[in-house]
């Protein structure tokens, strides 16, 4: 049992997926440890959904090795599905049932399920439990999606873009819920294109671009190294910083020596009468790394 618990929850080696002429995944390697939140980041069309659906057993792979809880998802069948929970990016549920009925229907599919009320409580639907699903809002339906994936008490929970379309406060609520699942020992594999989500939630993240993993590590490791600081203000660029970029009147300087560059910037501004409107100094974010690596920035 101890050996089983120490084995990784998810492993992919050289995973490739080809759709006709298009190679959606070009050999990706991933390891997700038990009990961690792993975020797979990438722009739309990067292959995130393809990757997660191969791990869930919804799609076949062209080549490579994949294991989820020690089983091949293509052949794991019922035994694997009893131990995982899946929240697809687009999914449906019988709209004429109530939220409580849907959760108890799914509850019957699993050998060791959680209590219906406990699951509805966990996703914040306890007070809407007896409402027909047709009358739930989009965000409430998404939470029901999570409830249906949780009721089997999964060891690994796959979340494909769980908070897309949420308003900021609903998103924070979802993050709280996901964190509380991790503290209960659930391994969480999520895909997202919100950098903030990965930075807030993930123990480890990988950035997928063009079918390849271009970076992987803890969010703080991914943002370390290189130019670690961003300086931004409205105005014209200083003469000493050829790397400064200007767009829409905003100047942005990324630097690995913030003390020197800030000092020179303010000295120059004082002399030249620059106001440095809206001056902002901030650490490099996951988003900066992401934009650099996926070629979406600059």
């Amino acid at each position: 049992m101890l050996a089983a618990m120490s084995e990784p929850a998810v492993v992919a080696r050289g995973l490739r997926k080809r759709y006709g002429e298009v190679e959606a995944l070009r050999g990706i390697d991933l390891t997700v440890a038990r009990g961690e939140i792993f975020a797979l980041l990438g722009p739309n069309g990067a292959g995130k959904t393809t990757a997660v659906e191969i791990l869930e057993g919804h799609r076949t792979r062209s080549s490579g090795d994949v294991s989820v809880l020690g089983m091949d998802p293509e052949r794991g069948g019922t035994r694997l599905r009893e131990r995982i929970g899946i929240v697809l990016q687009e999914t449906g549920v019988d709209p004429y049932l109530t939220a409580r009925e849907a959760v108890s229907m799914f509850r019957g599919y699993y050998p060791r399920p959680r209590e219906t009320d406990e699951v509805l409580e966990a996703v914040g639907l306890a007070d809407r439990a007896d409402e027909r699903i047709t009358r739930l809002s989009g965000g409430q339906r998404r939470r029901l999606d999570v409830a249906l994936a949780l009721v089997g008490d999964p060891e690994v929970l796959f979340l494909d873009e769980p908070t897309t379309g949420f308003d900021p406060s609903a998103r924070r609520g979802a993050w709280r819920m996901i964190r509380s699942l991790r503290s209960g020992g659930t391994t969480i594999f999520l895909t997202t294109h919100y950098m903030e989500e990965a930075q807030e939630l993930a123990d480890r993240a990988a950035i997928l671009a063009g079918g390849r993993i271009v970076a992987e590590g803890k969010p703080e490791e991914l943002t370390r190294g290189g130019d670690t600081t961003r300086i931004r203000y409205r105005g014209s660029p200083p003469p000493f910083a050829p790397q400064a970029s200007v767009s829409g009147g905003m100047v942005e300087i990324s630097t690995s020596d913030a003390v020197r560059d800030l000092h020179r910037l303010t000295a120059w501004a004082l002399e030249a009468g620059e106001a440095l409107d809206g001056l902002e100094v901030r650490p490099r974010s996951l988003e900066d790394v992401y934009l650099q690596l996926t070629g979406e920035g600059a």
């Binding site: 869930e56 057993g57 919804h58 019922t78 599905r81 009893e82 995982i84 899946i86 697809l88 687009e90 999914t91 449906g92 549920v93 019988d94 709209p95 004429y96 049932l97 009925e101 229907m105 799914f106 019957g108 599919y109 699993y110 050998p111 027909r132 249906l148 089997g152």
Partner: protein, 258 residues
Amino acid sequence: MTSVALAARQVFYEQRSFWRNPPAAVFTFVFPILFLFLFNLVFGARRVTLATGHEVPGSVFYVPAIAAFSLITACFTNVAMGIAIARDRGILKRMRGTPLPGWAYLTGRIGSATAIALLLVAIVAAVGKLVYDTPLPTNTLPGLVTTLVVGAASFAALGVAVTAAIRDADAAPAVVNAVILPLVFISDVLIPLEDPPRWIVAVGYVFPVRHLSEAMQTVFDPLQAGAGLEWGHLGVVAAWGLAGAAAALRFFAWEPRR
């Protein structure tokens, strides 16, 4: 829970959902009964020769004809549209990600459709008895039960199979009706054809609708002496059902086609 218990449980949830969707419930129940009244009003006075060769009042023709039509509506039309819509909504794909076996889910839908078909046939027979004095098929009970079981299973299998030809929820009613309505009209179900062109009759006998209708006519024929078992007709219906099951196994899709 065993898989059989899971399938039975699915029937219960499908039934609960069905009765909460009034348009579907109304469509399924009101149309056949409305047709029973309408066709009796228009054609009820005519004398009609049943498949058994016996000449009977029009009302005695319409009870089994509408019973066959009801079974087809519930088991073929409703199963095909229900599954196509569920697939389009992503419900099937989600089910596929749970430990529930795929066959248990489909059995739940088919079982629910069969329950509706049985209730409808019972209502049609009761209306026939009360309003048109058409005798209940008591002597031919073995024939009635066999015809209902073979008919429900076969048309449901064909309903599952036809979903492979449906792209999305919007296309479902068009495809399903394009398949079934022409067959209903050439198969002696709604209008007893008088001197139809031979080829139309021949085409009708290729497909299962006419065979189900004639098996049902035998069951409801008051002049019928035996148990009402039309093995020839039921054999054709069952063969179509098996072909449908084979096609479903080969072509059935759980993922939305978009």
